[in-house]
């Protein structure tokens, strides 16, 4: 990836949480990441690690009980968190969009695809379009998502389509407005492995051809490896490691990354690894220092005192872990 490329999205130190009955869930702690123009970025981590919360913050679609304590979401240099609703809407109309994990619940079950597709096209266009123009565009986007028999698809209700088809429709819908940045939240997880493979290939072809930047959220290391240029590893609302994909897989540094990789059963056999003992800590009262401390076999005194900073260990390869503080300065 060209280092001089423009940072289309830059998230700086966002602190986000939720207000619940028991108190405040402090989910994201100073999360920062960026995406270059045309770059494919992966964010990986277990469930409840804050991946989706981070993306919802970017899209400004956090639920009403959320709290944003601080940080910036810069879209081409403008802070989205301080933008007016109108400006954010305009961004969502023309620049960025999101694909969700469950293709069924992302579509409205009581309207035909035609209605839903037309609505989105009307919404994201500033001029008044004629019926024919709207229809033409709908066909165009559905074809771009490699859907066969587009007229039949337009006349179907979501339940009449298979999971893979529904996800393709979602991709088509997101393409209407994601001309610059696409956020894909586990786009293949709910699908069978052969269909997931098709969907990931399709997404890759589209974003590379159209030069769209993409953030891929997933818990699957395998999917990340075959798809993205750069990976952020997230654990309990913190970024613990950032690296170019190749570097991450050839030389994982953070104990969490290493243990996560070791947990994946290998196709070549050799027994099932033990996984990572313990669970993600509660966000009501998360550890003060490194949040992986409760599960880390290498923990030291210093880990509990203050959070480790991300340090560059190799070119573009950063890790937030005290194990790498000594011996390299």
């Amino acid at each position: 990836m060209d280092e001089g490329a423009e940072r289309i999205l830059e998230v700086k130190n966002i602190m986000v949480g939720y207000k619940v009955y028991e108190g405040e869930l402090k989910v994201l702690r100073e999360v920062s990441f960026y995406v270059l123009k045309g770059e494919k970025v992966g964010i990986i981590g277990e469930s409840a690690c804050g991946k989706t919360t981070a993306m919802k913050t970017v899209m400004r679609i956090l639920p009403s009980n959320s709290i944003v304590w601080g940080g910036q979401v810069l879209y081409k240099g403008k802070n989205m968190l301080a933008m007016s609703k109108k400006d954010v809407t305009s961004l969502r109309k023309h620049n960025l969009s999101m694909i969700f994990q469950d293709p069924s619940s992302a579509l409205n079950p009581v309207f035909k695809i035609r209605q839903q597709m037309y609505d989105i096209i009307k919404y994201s266009s500033d001029e008044r379009l004629t019926k024919e123009e709207i229809h033409e565009r709908a066909i165009h986007y559905l074809k771009e998502a490699a859907l066969p028999e587009v007229e039949r698809i337009l006349d179907s209700y979501p339940f009449q389509l298979s999971g893979g088809m529904k996800q393709r429709v979602n991709i088509a819908m997101s393409l209407v407005s994601a001309r610059e940045l696409l956020i894909a939240d586990e786009p293949g997880t709910a699908l069978d492995v052969t269909i997931e493979d098709q969907i990931m290939r399709l997404l890759k072809t589209i974003v590379e051809r159209e030069h769209i930047s993409i953030i891929l959220i997933t818990h699957s290391l395998g999917v990340v490896k075959g798809f993205v240029d750069r990976v952020y590893v997230m654990y309990a609302g913190t970024i613990v490691e950032v690296a170019p994909t190749k570097s991450l897989f050839s030389n994982p540094l953070h104990p969490y990354t290493r243990m996560l990789m070791d947990s994946v059963p290998r196709l070549i056999g050799g027994g099932v690894p033990e996984g990572i003992p313990g669970v993600v800590p509660s966000y009501l009262d998360p550890p003060k220092g490194c949040r992986f401390i409760t599960r880390c076999p290498f923990r030291m005194d210093v880990c509990g005192q203050s959070p480790p900073d991300l340090r560059e260990i190799d070119q573009g390869h950063y890790v937030a872990c005290y194990l790498y503080n000594e011996g390299r300065s």
Binding site: V193, T194, D197, G269, I276, V279
Partner: protein, 330 residues
């Protein structure tokens, strides 16, 4: 080793308003005592229906399920007590398979009091929790107060409470994070050794099967397409569908990448069970299909010492011509 479970000609058809759904259509396989059979397939392939017939949720439309030499399909949904004790099941989603209004103690006490009369209930519960590595202080907790992995351990303990010999595992870890999966699987493996259990492991995860199963069977639209001992299965997959599945798996190491068969063009999707294609049900997606495949469903043939495959590439004429054909098309 003898076969603990022998399934032959098993069918399950569902009558629906739209027509007959052939969920399971004439499948046969054996599970040896103390072994693990991995039943792998995409959603809609009928693998869970097979599990449900073994456990007695559905009465088969036809076919025989022989357990310890006795045909148990004849009992239908009304099974004798010994059988319900012998065969247990662990479901995919522990959040919905455990009663949210019952504590761990209550969930475990019921099967003990029914199937093990006279056993000291509380002590047995503690023993069970110990066996599955659950901290005993969880005994009075509700499912909501447990993590996903812990809930699944309760479900496993509940299955063990009747002292079964055979357990149907229906995707026991696919709702869990990979970091937790290992613990659950390893406990299941330990239990098998300790109690001489046999498992039917229903899953879509071939990487996992490579590590745990003794035999792997591939299902597609209600039929078995390929069966082989695990080592043979991964070393030399035969059926184009198996190759497609294996080549679609996202892997993380180069060793695994090398094991994957050559990339097979990945087109189309599994058809609905109402409209199963004529001939070989996989032919619309198969890059090697020719006229024969559209008309005749290939039989499941033993190609080499227990490696069964249902594909015309291997059934027409001698092995060499079949191999050639596959070479040419590739």
């Amino acid at each position: 080793m003898s076969a603990l479970m022998e399934i032959s000609g098993l069918k399950k058809y569902f009558k629906t308003r739209a027509g007959i759904v052939k969920a399971v259509d004439d499948i046969s396989f054996e599970i040896e005592e103390g072994s693990i059979m991995g039943l792998v397939g995409e959603s809609g392939s009928g693998k869970t229906t097979v599990g449900n017939m073994i456990i007695g949720v559905y009465r088969p439309t036809s076919g025989i399920i022989k357990y310890k030499g006795e045909d148990i399909s004849k009992f239908g949904e009304k099974r004798p007590k010994w059988l319900r004790k012998d065969i247990q099941m662990v479901f995919q989603n522990p959040a919905s398979s455990l009663n949210p209004k019952r504590t761990v103690r209550q969930s475990l006490a019921l099967p003990i009091s029914i199937h093990r009369p006279g056993a000291p209930v509380t002590k047995t519960i503690y023993d069970l929790m110990d066996i599955v590595d659950l901290p005993t202080e969880f005994i009075d907790r509700y499912p909501d107060e447990l993590g996903g992995g812990e809930k699944q351990l309760v479900a496993i303990a509940r299955a063990l409470a009747t002292e079964p010999t055979f357990i149907v595992l229906d995707e026991p870890t696919s709702a869990l994070d990979v970091s937790i999966q290992g613990k659950i699987i390893n406990i299941l493996m330990k239990l098998r050794k300790e109690f001489g259990l046999s498992y039917l492991f229903i899953t879509h995860n071939l990487s996992l099967m490579s590590n745990v199963a003794d035999t792997v069977a591939i299902m597609y639209l209600g039929k078995i397409k390929e069966v082989a001992r695990t080592e043979e299965f991964f070393r030399q997959p035969l059926h184009p569908y198996t190759k497609l599945l294996l080549s679609s798996i996202p892997v993380i190491t180069d060793d695994e990448e090398r094991l994957k068969p050559q990339k097979i063009p990945n087109i189309g999707e599994i058809s609905g069970a109402l409209h199963i294609p004529k001939g070989c049900s996989f032919h619309p997606r198969c890059p090697f299909a020719w006229e024969l495949c559209e008309d005749v469903d290939p039989p499941l043939l033993d190609l080499s010492k227990g490696h069964l495959c249902s594909c015309h590439l291997y059934s027409s004429g001698s092995d060499s011509s079949a191999a050639q054909k596959s070479q040419v098309s590739e």
